[in-house]
């Protein structure tokens, strides 16, 4: 059991008494308006850090005392505690770490139990807030929420990297007429319209007194009713008890990360997991509404459109997963299958094919027995993996595992006996990570081994631990009990960390290092440097300052990959201009590579501090009426009080790195797009990295690069690949639809278009470097990065 004590972390507000019992806390006088409740678990540290970064970037002095952050931690061993410790220096945080994994749903209830605000915003630890969301929500709660018991917020479904919006929200998720902000006063209509939306944590805000009153009636009812969505039970019960109306805000206030692990955690495949989700919700809605309620039927139609679509039903009926309990359940859900036109146009003709008829017969036979193959004999499976011999406490360990089926056995992923890859730590219980069961992404057949990349955290207690990677089957248990080959075991010696550094620091050792003034720093110098780095409000680059790596948004791994992909020419004795230098990673890299003279040119990000601008921009966005285009971001920045082209608050990181490294890089403050740069002369090599797509006039910008370039320009930019048109020379103009919510983005060319721009700007030859652009399927586009060497 690992609690934070008040002595360890005096800045944290820890209320174990309330958190420990997972029950409601008494509602205090509403001093705190909004509690952002974030339940998290092991392996979510990076996602949580991103979520907290987007949240705290929107927290200004005007929110002091109004907003608190409540984090309940499901016994994670991945450094979440340290992350929260850092956060608690600047924000009001309530943190509780459970001594064991109590499950995701119970953790949601626990996160509300430690909250004290008038409203609770359920926040999934892998989601994030859209710019301006917090201000808009606080304003709504203050001014127009008297009649509400809660509200649902619109959300953008982002990809796993949260870099771009992946797919639009399906219509079944949204209320009818989704673009209109509404208040549902009829509780049944509220459930019918917003019942699906309420299942998504981060889109849901609830009045805490209503939550408390439901839990006080029967604290065990939510978990008894549904093990996946107890918060939906509480919301539904509060609505039906007449606690108030439910609101719908159509603006995308939430950035939801798609592709999370719920499906793999629910039994192996999308089909069976979708059945689980549908079943849980149907069970919940029957308890709340009854089976004959029109709202119940409306909700069922929405759920089936989302999680058990006709395409999946056909897939299960006719595909390789037939004959399992999953499709029995699906077929139970799919009563009116014959009403679907494609049943007659596709399913029936295909069923007439002989091999499918045979398959259907085999499937029917399996359904009769209702059981899958049961593994457990010797020589059925083999797992190989390279396990480490030593590890530091809390260290992330990555393993490549190979799973092979031997003999005639198949390792199936389907219910009712799916096979999982199990990662177990044995040894002292203190700080030991929870066991992991990872669903196999596909059925493993003899002769077709499966390779999986698995990561786990080393335990937080030192000593000898046994790490085993093996197979586990539902209803059977660990297979290595009878088949030793189906598991790999190794004793791992876990030792204390050598030097306390940010988690990313250890990976920096493998990347090219920036020039270091001194090989070793004394402890006091080290501490002073760490303090100086921490005082810089924001870092874009991760730069190794000699034992201390700056905590940049671009991690050392990303920068190392980017630097390698650029294939820089030999810079020894040459002059280099780095346009858009920011914190100067590439300038220092050029200097380290032996360049005779390096000039770091920047203007925009040096004249304003990044986080301050994000706060300003959030407020501007919040004031833009729906349907109107926000003003130009650069105009906003230059007109705001954070704009300081003399004091250069954004150059603090560059200056610190420059000073610490003893660098001779010459910083030049000029506006590349507007100022006359002829006085700088020409440079052998010009680095134009990640700047082009921020400029409204790309051709003019490349002409300027050409004018400054004596030999070669390295040009790297955000780009797109157009599915179905791999050789299209086109550029996407992001006038109002800004990618990554970055208001300074304007253009994303294809690789061919970038080449044409360079040639039109006067370069004689263009060579593509880096990885090949992706080839998306027809009708889709893929964002990517492209880089070229353009020769004068």
């Amino acid at each position: 059991m690992r609690h934070l004590s008040a002595q360890e972390l005096p800045e944290l507000t820890v209320d174990r008494r309330r958190a420990a019992r997972h029950g409601p806390s008494p509602v205090p006088s509403a001093a705190v308006l909004l509690s952002v409740c974030i339940p998290t678990h092991d392996g979510r540290r990076d996602e949580l850090a991103h979520a907290l970064a987007t949240l705290t970037a929107q927290l200004g002095p005007e929110h002091a005392g109004d907003v608190e952050i409540c984090i309940t931690d499901n016994a994670s061993a991945d450094g979440t505690e340290e992350l929260v410790r850092e956060l608690a220096r600047t924000q009001t945080v309530v943190y509780h770490r459970h001594d064991r994994d109590i499950g995701a749903a119970a953790n949601v209830l626990a996160s509300v139990a430690v909250a004290s605000g008038e409203w609770v915003w359920l926040h999934s630890s892998d989601d994030a807030l859209a710019p301006g969301a917090l201000d808009a929500v606080v304003r709504r709660l203050r001014e127009g929420a008297d009649e509400l018991v809660g509200l649902s917020l619109g959300r953008a479904r982002m990809d796993r990297g949260m870099g771009r919006e992946e797919v639009p929200e399906p219509a079944a998720v949204l209320p009818d007429d989704p673009e209109r902000a509404r208040v549902f006063t009829d509780p049944r209509e509220a459930l019918a319209q917003a019942g699906i939306m309420q299942t998504f944590l981060t889109s849901t805000i609830v009045r805490r007194v209503a939550w408390v009153s439901v839990v006080a009636q029967d604290a065990g009812a939510p978990m008894r009713t549904t093990r996946l969505f107890p918060h939906c039970y509480i919301i539904g019960r509060a609505l039906l008890d007449g606690a108030g109306a439910w609101g719908w805000d159509p603006r995308k206030r939430v950035l939801a990360r798609t592709g999370n692990e719920i499906f793999s955690a629910l039994g192996g495949g999308a089909v069976s997991a979708s059945v689980e989700v549908s079943r849980e919700l149907v069970k919940l809605w029957i308890v709340l509404l009854g089976p004959r309620d029109p709202a119940f039927r409306a909700l069922c139609e929405r759920a089936w459109a989302l999680w058990a679509s006709p395409a999946w039903i056909e897939h299960v009926k006719l595909g390789p997963l037939a004959g399992t309990a999953a499709d029995l359940r699906l077929l139970g859900l799919a009563g009116p299958l014959w009403r679907l036109p494609r049943f007659w146009t596709e399913s029936v003709p295909r069923l007439l094919l002989p091999h499918l008829v045979a398959h259907a017969a085999r499937s029917a036979r399996l359904r009769t027995f209702r059981m899958g193959p049961r593994l457990g004999g010797r020589g059925l499976a083999q797992v190989t993996a390279e396990l480490p011999a030593d590890a530091e406490v809390g260290e992330y360990l990555r393993m490549r595992c190979t799973v092979e089926a031997l003999g005639a056995a198949r390792l199936r992923t389907a219910l009712p006996r799916p096979v999982y890859l199990a990662v177990n730590w044995d040894g002292p219980a203190e700080g030991r990570p929870t066991r992991q069961r990872l669903a196999l992404p596909r059925t493993v057949r003899p002769g077709h081994p499966l390779v999986m990349d698995v990561s786990t955290s080393a335990p937080w207690g030192t000593g000898e631990h046994v790490l085993s990677v093996g197979l586990w089957q539902q209803g059977v248990g660990r297979l290595d009990a009878v088949d030793p080959d189906s598991a790999v075991r190794r004793t791992v010696r876990v030792v204390e960390q050598a030097v306390e550094e940010p988690p990313r620091a250890e990976a920096a050792a493998s990347r090219p290092r920036a020039p270091e003034p001194e090989p070793e720093l004394r402890d006091d110098e080290h501490a002073a440097l760490r303090a100086a780095v921490a005082r810089v409000p924001s870092w874009w680059h991760s730069i190794d300052l000699g034992g201390v790596v700056t905590p940049g948004t671009k991690t050392p791994e990303i920068l190392a990959a980017e630097l390698a992909g650029l294939r820089l020419p030999d810079l020894r004795g040459r002059t280099v201009l780095d346009i858009g230098a920011w914190d100067g990673f590439y300038s220092f890299a050029a200097e380290r590579a032996g360049a005779a003279r390096v000039v770091a040119l920047d203007h925009l990000v040096w004249s304003a501090e990044l986080y301050a601008f994000q706060r300003v921009w959030s407020r501007v966005l919040a004031d833009v009426p729906p349907g109107h285009v926000p003003p130009d971001a650069l105009d906003v920045m230059e007109a705001s009080d954070i704009w300081d082209p003399v004091g250069l608050p954004g150059r603090a990181g560059f200056d610190l790195a420059h000073r610490t490294l003893g660098s001779a890089v010459e910083p030049v403050v000029r506006d590349f797009a507007r100022d006359d740069l002829s006085s700088l002369g020409r440079f052998d090599v010009v680095l134009f990295l990640g700047v082009l797509y921020h400029l409204r006039d790309p051709l003019g910008a490349l002409r300027r690069v050409h004018a400054l370039c004596g030999d070669v320009a390295i040009i790297e930019t955000e780009a797109i690949a157009i599915g179905g048109h791999p050789h299209a020379a086109a550029a996407q103009f992001m006038g109002t639809r800004k990618r990554n919510y970055d208001p300074t983005n304007w253009w994303a060319p294809t690789a061919v278009a970038l080449e044409r721009w360079c040639l039109a700007a006067g370069f004689s030859r263009v060579e593509h470097v880096g990885s090949r652009p992706p080839e998306p399927r027809a009708g889709t586009v893929s964002p990517c990065r492209v880089a070229v060497h353009a020769w004068r």
């Binding site: 285009v629 409204r696 006039d697 051709l699 003019g700 797109i720 157009i722 599915g723 179905g724 048109h725 299209a728 020379a729 086109a730 550029a731 996407q732 103009f733 992001m734 006038g735 109002t736 639809r737 304007w746 060319p749 061919v752 278009a753 044409r756 721009w757 040639l759 039109a760 700007a761 006067g762 027809a778 009708g779 586009v781």
Partner: protein, 164 residues
């Protein structure tokens, strides 16, 4: 000269005047509008920084910087901007804001030469206009109907009416 007045959907927002000017060339969708009393500027590049009620931009595809060209168009337009441009559509990507980049050899005198540099899609022009501050963007001619397009890029003449 008294033009024939044909009411259109734009009439709701259209200022009605009594004096007409000669219509600009045909095919820009202006024949059906009442231009009575409005000033029309057909070649903004030749007329300095003058503003007009109706401004016609025909050389967007030759502009060095298409975004700035449309931003300037917005500054000079009081009522209606008309953009006529040879356009390109990539089937399946009608909503991407794409603009084709045409190959251009660097001329000896960039100021004198006016090669064709761009061929925007309809959505690309819409994005340019919306970013420049036009709130109502309508396509008067083009793009072609979806079904006959196939999968190859389609080239066509695009006429856009944009209102602030």
């Amino acid at each position: 000269m008294t033009p024939t007045r044909v009411r259109t959907r734009l009439d709701r927002h259209w200022p009605v005047r009594e004096v007409a000017r000669p219509a600009v060339s045909a095919g820009l969708g202006l024949e059906q509008l009442d231009l009575t009393g409005l000033t029309v500027l057909d070649d903004p590049a030749a007329d300095g920084a003058a503003t007009a009620d109706v401004v016609v931009l025909r050389d967007l595809h030759c502009a060095e910087d298409p975004a700035t060209a449309v931003f300037r168009l917005r500054e000079r337009t009081r009522v209606l901007a008309v953009i006529e441009v040879p356009a390109t559509e990539w089937p399946g990507h009608e909503e991407r804001g794409l603009i084709e980049v045409l190959p251009v050899d660097p001329p000896a005198d960039p100021a004198a030469a006016r090669p064709e540099r761009w061929s925007p899609s309809a959505d690309g022009v819409r994005e340019l206009c919306r970013a420049a501050g036009f709130t109502d963007v309508r396509f008067v001619a083009g793009p072609p109907a979806y079904r006959p397009r196939g999968w190859r890029p389609v080239h066509y003449r695009l006429v856009v009416h944009a209102r602030p």
